[in-house]
């Protein structure tokens, strides 16, 4: 076994100024760093999750200018002045209709995918306040290993103000 070797820092410094949850944040990272890891490691906002690293599972979903965006494959250099919103900004007190609906329907199990689910759902409701089942099918492609899908559907409909009959 060879022992460990201490690294020497390179001098290179790269600065990006990001608009995250309504605040300007300066980060010193390489330009190829995915937005996910800037959010988690540089900014310490750990609500956004790492699941696959290839934009397949959606656990890393945030909003970029209001659009649901999978942050694990988006280099920070491509973000520019876009407005980034993470799960932490959905509401200050779990009062967002989706958060309330998520609690009412007892959606999460392990919960690891749910930040991404909620951000995808929030973007959906912004564009379609009363989504059809097909709209939900198309927008909610996030993976959940615990199988919360039917409750996610019901919670979106509840948050959209649909009646109990419309939710089933």
């Amino acid at each position: 076994m060879v022992g460990t070797i201490l690294a020497t820092y390179r001098e290179a410094k790269l600065q990006y100024t990001l608009n995250v949850n309504g605040a300007q944040r300066h980060v010193d990272v390489d330009g190829d760093t995915p937005l996910l890891w800037v959010i988690r490691d540089a900014l310490g906002l750990t609500g956004t999750k790492f699941g696959c690293g290839m934009a397949v599972c959606g656990a890393c979903t945030v909003h970029l200018d209001g659009q649901a965006t999978r942050s694990c494959v988006l280099p920070v250099s491509a973000v520019g002045n876009g407005h980034i919103a993470t799960i932490e900004s959905l509401s200050p007190d779990r009062s967002h209709p989706l958060q309330q609906a998520w609690i009412a329907e007892q959606v999460p199990q392990c919960g690891y995918c749910q930040s991404g689910m909620l951000m995808a759902a929030a973007a959906l409701l912004s564009s379609k306040p009363r989504p059809s089942d097909a709209d939900i099918d198309n927008a909610m492609t996030n993976l959940c290993r615990c199988g919360t899908y039917n409750r996610v559907r019901r919670a979106i409909k509840r948050a959209a103000g649909m009646t109990t009959e419309e939710r089933t």
Binding site: A7, K49, C52, M54, Q109, C110, G111, Q114
Partner: protein, 725 residues
Amino acid sequence: MNWHAHNPGRRAFIARSAASGLVVAFGDAFAAAPGAHAPVAPADINGWIRVAPDGAVTLLSNTSEIGQGTGTALAQILANELDLDWLRVRMEMAPVTPAFINAQFGEYATYGSGGVAGQFAPLRRAAAQARAVLISAAARQWKVPAVSCDTDVGTVVHVSSGRRLPYAALAQAAAQLPLPKEVALMPRERWRHIGRDAARFDIPDKVDGSAVYGIDVKRPGLLTATLLQSPSFGGRLAHVDPAPAMRVRGVRHVVELDDAVAVVADSYWSAKKGLAALKPTWDNAQASKHSSADYAVALAAGVKEGGAVFARRDSTAEKEWAAFAQAMRSAQKSMEQVYTVPFLSHATMEPMNATARVGSDAAELWIPTQTQELTRDVVAKELGLPAGAVTIHTTLAGGGFGRRAELDFPLQAVRIAKRTGATVKLIWSREEDMRHDFYRPAAAVKLTAGIGADGLPVALRFDSACESLLLYSAGGAFKASAKPADPTAVGEIPRHYQIPSLLSVVNTIDIGVPVAYWRSVAQSQNCFAYECFVDELAHAAKSDPLQFRRRLLAPDGRERRGLDEAITRSGWNDAAPAGHFRGLALVHANGSVVVHVVELSVVDEHKVKLHRITTVVDCGVAVNPRNIRAQMEGGIVYGLSAAFYGEITIKDGAVEQSNFHDYRLIRLADTPRIDVSILESGEKPGGVGEEAVGPVAPAVVNALFAATGHRIRQLPLSKAGYTLA
């Protein structure tokens, strides 16, 4: 079924570990949660229950929160017996000490659907004892007999005078009193928390990003590591030049492990870039050379050539052979079919990770684990420390399904932390997670039935060929128990069908692919094989598959009651809508009975549209019905992914899949309506976390047969061309 009960090796190992001495460690999984702060100067009445001066009651859970919501159910059991105000109840993870061992398992761990099932009785007793001393404390203060007092929602009441004292005012005095050995339990008519749809404690933090999983742990001076393990199982790291990684900004260390290379950096992305820059070479002299195609041939041969008899405890191999041969003599004809299933990954949404700090005389881990006590003991052994010098902090886990009962990732984190002297969070990439799992064994199961004149089986023989879980799980610590027949990999054949003779023959065929416990364990292959085979027997007898099963079940048994409920709930006896077809399957596992009826249609020959799954579950006393429904829904979705798409294939001893694009899971749009009915039976609680998984695939396969006449005996269904519409 409870695999642990068949696992004397594991129990013996635990007993030895416990005897080596234990020191208090403190888990803080819930301490960071808003509203869950430990109360100031609480009175610790009997370990599980702490009453604070302000009246808040903290209940402790010894069951890891891996998504199954057990902690809330344990709190319901305690609150019910203690007659608590639910709004004042808090929950915390219990420390890893002997007082908090799961009584069913004999260790502090989470598996086997045993969180509630194994602890219902002991927790009721613990809470009843606490209630008794609270009553005694009040009675002493009032100078009245304890029998003249009662409780009323967090208060002791002197019945005749109406005097009342809240638990908070009595807790300090109560904590000084000896716990009574004999206590009366709360009568059923006074249950207020068991059986209620309780909102889970862990859910609010899971809707705003504040829930802390293992991957989210923050510590002073924390570095992040990621690693690449030998692609072929059993390979060793031969050589790696660390220089290319060290030139990557933020990289601090390159650490060589026996079978892996790790890069430690200021952030995950730096570590990942550093790792990508390395070109390690591997010594594959001891590595597995196997491939899935060869293994399929070996398994097919394995179920033909016989093996060791897995005899029941009250029997012997000779007796079982003789009984089977005797029963077969009364058969008019026989039927034989072989069913095969592939390796499967757990694929938890949160990849494997662990955070470790190693000092000269102590170590600390922050870890999403299902096996706290064993992790502590193997880490202590690795570091040459007493067990008491190792502290395990249990974090929330982004899924478990059995994967987090293994010890590979904590040991790696400890080794890297020790080598670097830093607090290190090891995060596996998804690719490593997919390629270095402990898989559900690929298996072949051959069923042979002797059939009587009435078309019912008189004798049934299971031949199972697969790897041994015990060779791999827990670092092989229990592999001595794998001989002569490994009960964990093949399970105990269910006995609910009234067949005069059942024989189970096991052929262990090892190819060096790590296998272990996967949600539902042996039921994932046995229930598929058995319930498909029973369906085939029914069709051969020209009998309705449900009625055929009814004839095989005890008239007053829970299984028949479950089937009868399924008839009503699914409309089994009514004509299905045009083009719709139904299939069913039944399991009795871990003390619970689950029946699924799948209704589907098939379009364009191979596109399957799932319309509805009707589930009946009899899990005895249903502690938190709403969460039981969630567990059934979750088990069904987990089972559907496996039934349609799940397959890990091996080439040259390495896994070919790498991520969710080639290990496909079903999505929201694929998920059918699921109707769950809970059939209360008054039995003691059974498991609900795993039991819905096993019957999913056979119910789908049986419905597909009804729809197409095509009998499928190999999973996943995508191999036969079937995908979800």
